[in-house]
Structure formats: C-alpha cells, structure tokens
Symmetry: C2
Subunit: 195 residues, 2 copies
C-alpha cells in the first residue's frame, strides 16, 4: 500500500545546473536551477524553468540566449551560492571567484571553472504557472579536456555532476555505474515462441 | 581551453523515469524516459518528452494523463527493458513481472513495484521537433512506506533512483550526500561593508 504525499514537487533526482546570461548592461550573471531537463533530440534542446522574480528571467528574455553549465561535486559550494544570491545586487561571478567567458555562438557567457557547458539560443517560452519554461536549442557542447574519454565524450564520473533532491533540499554525488543502457534489460525480453 | 563537442544532447545527469499510461483498449503500458524534468512549483508540474513513434505518445494523448514512476537501482534491468520493448507488440508489465495499479486520481496506472510515483493530468503539449513535450500537473505523489523518513518525506538514498548519461548510454546510482541546499554555499556570500 502506497502512502499519499500530496500534490508536491517530490522527486529524485533533479539536476544542479547553472544558467548563465548577460544582463541588459552586459554584466554576466549565473543562477542555479533544478527544474530542468533535456527535452528534444532533433534539434537538441534543453528546458529550464525560472520564476519571473529571478534576475536571470529578464536577462534571458532580453538576450534570447543562455548557457547551461554543469558544476562538479567539488564545486557544490559555488553551485549552492549561485542559487542563494541574486544578480540584482551581487556580482556572483566575482563573489564565487568564477570566470565568465563569452560564448562565440550565443549572446551569453559560460562558467569557465565548470567542466561542461551547453550554449543555447532561446527557441520557445512556455508559461506554466509560477515558473516559465525556456526551451533552448543547443548550438554547441563544450567540455574541459580532462573530463573527456579517449573516444572524445565526457566521462560522467570525471564530470562528477551534482544531483539534487527537492523538498529534503540535499545535494548528492553521482554514484557507481549500474550498467549499459539497452543491455542490462535484454534478459527480460519475452522468448519468441517456436513454431 | 574548452573542447567543442558539437550540437548534441550531451549532459549529465538525466533521470530514469518510467511513464505509465493506458492505451485505447485499457491495457497498461510503461516506457522509460530520460528527456524529463520538473518544470513548475505552482501548480506542481513535470515535463516529459516523447517521440511521436512511441506507443506511449498516443496513449497519453488519448487518456490525457500519465504517471511518472521512479525505479530503484535494484530495478535497473526492468527500467532498461521498459525502454527497449514497445507496448505495441509486448505486454511490458507481464514481461517484466510488474504490476499496474489504477490511479484513483488520473486515468493512468502506476508501477506498484517502484518506490515513488507522480500522478499527472496533461496540462500542456509542446511541439519541439523530434520530441513532443508533455507537461503534466502533479495531482498526488505516492511512495512506498519503507522509503519514507520519520518526517514523512522520501529519503533519496532509500528511493535509490537511477541516473542516466546519454551519449555514453550508462546508468549510475545515487552517490554520497554532498550537503544541504542554501547552506553549503553561505560562506561565499560577500561580507557587508561596515559603515
């Protein structure tokens, strides 16, 4: 028998991604978001939901662009700080000793110290309620060379992303590997009947 | 210097959530999705992107409802299988030895063996490209009593969700706790100037 917990945003996991933008004056800003996820393969798109009250909301609408930056577990204090302070009254890059690098593809900066970045142009804006969802087309993914495997893809354990559990408000590291997709479930396929 | 990887869906982590629906004939179906994330706090909403080619796509549009089910790390084979087979030609619940329980709130089943469920009614449909995003309003969250803490919230480490890294196509467990949100970053707040 399952227990009812009500109409709440209880789920695990959500990502801890840092959304970076320029404001109207050209100052870089960054905020942490967890209401986010990939949402399309072609064109490659990521969706990020923001409250209108955030400083990033206006920046993103003005510039029609943003980057999604994946901080590493060792950078959890920086990631958390970027979700506490507001760009309205704080230079968050300076306070967190982070470097804003201008994207050559979109009108937004990325966070140099973080290992993985998605450079996005705004494609759709979806009004949902307290949050507005911004769907960005990923024009390029950039990564620190030290997180790449020999095959040239980011190794998830070297990126070492942060996971978040809302409601209990706790951060977690990525754990052990559980197996290869489209492989570990093959044994459950029904055996074809012989005729 | 960052390395460019191209316009691709490279990110870590994405969730491994199982979307359950009834088809037109009333048969339960379930598929694994990773292009998904929470997208609004009020009303509480979750977004899930599906390709039109999936069997779930039609079920969800017909029934205007779905559940999001969080499988545990010990259920990675079942979760993977639900992403390999199609409900068009396979009774996936039977093949994976899973039980469909009818939601009392929405016209969709949930997967009894999984520890956490979100019961959703379809609120918005967003055409993006290869994927269509379905935004569901969460009408209730249900959990297995054994994953709940004394405070009545799911303990992320007892739920033991599965994370996914697309492109390298690997599953991961949730790792160690890294700290409390709105706490671990406080030390980076600029010190107010004394006057």
């Amino acid at each position: 028998m399952k227990q009812s917990l009500g109409a709440r945003t209880i789920i695990v996991p959500t990502p801890v991604w840092v959304i970076a933008t320029y404001d109207e004056a050209g100052r870089p800003n960054a905020m942490t978001a967890s209401w986010a996820g990939m949402c399309c393969s072609r064109p490659p798109c990521v969706g990020v939901s923001l409250r209108k009250a955030t400083y990033t909301y206006g920046c993103l609408l003005t510039r029609q662009a943003f980057t999604v930056n994946v901080p590493a577990a060792s950078q959890v204090a920086e990631a958390d700080f970027l979700g506490i302070a507001s760009g309205r009254d704080t230079d968050k890059f300076a306070a967190a000793h982070l470097t804003a690098v201008r994207s050559s593809l979109v009108d937004a900066p990325y966070v140099a110290e973080f290992p993985l970045h998605l450079e996005c142009r705004l494609l759709h804006t979806v009004e949902i309620g307290l949050h507005t969802q911004f769907i960005g087309e990923i024009l390029d993914v950039k990564a620190s060379p030290e997180v790449l495997t020999a095959a040239g893809l980011p190794d998830p354990q070297r990126v070492a992303p942060i996971l978040y559990a809302p409601e209990v408000r706790r951060y977690y590291a990525l754990g052990e590997e559980l197996g290869q997709a489209k492989m570990v479930g093959l044994r459950l396929r029904p055996v074809p009947e012989t005729t």
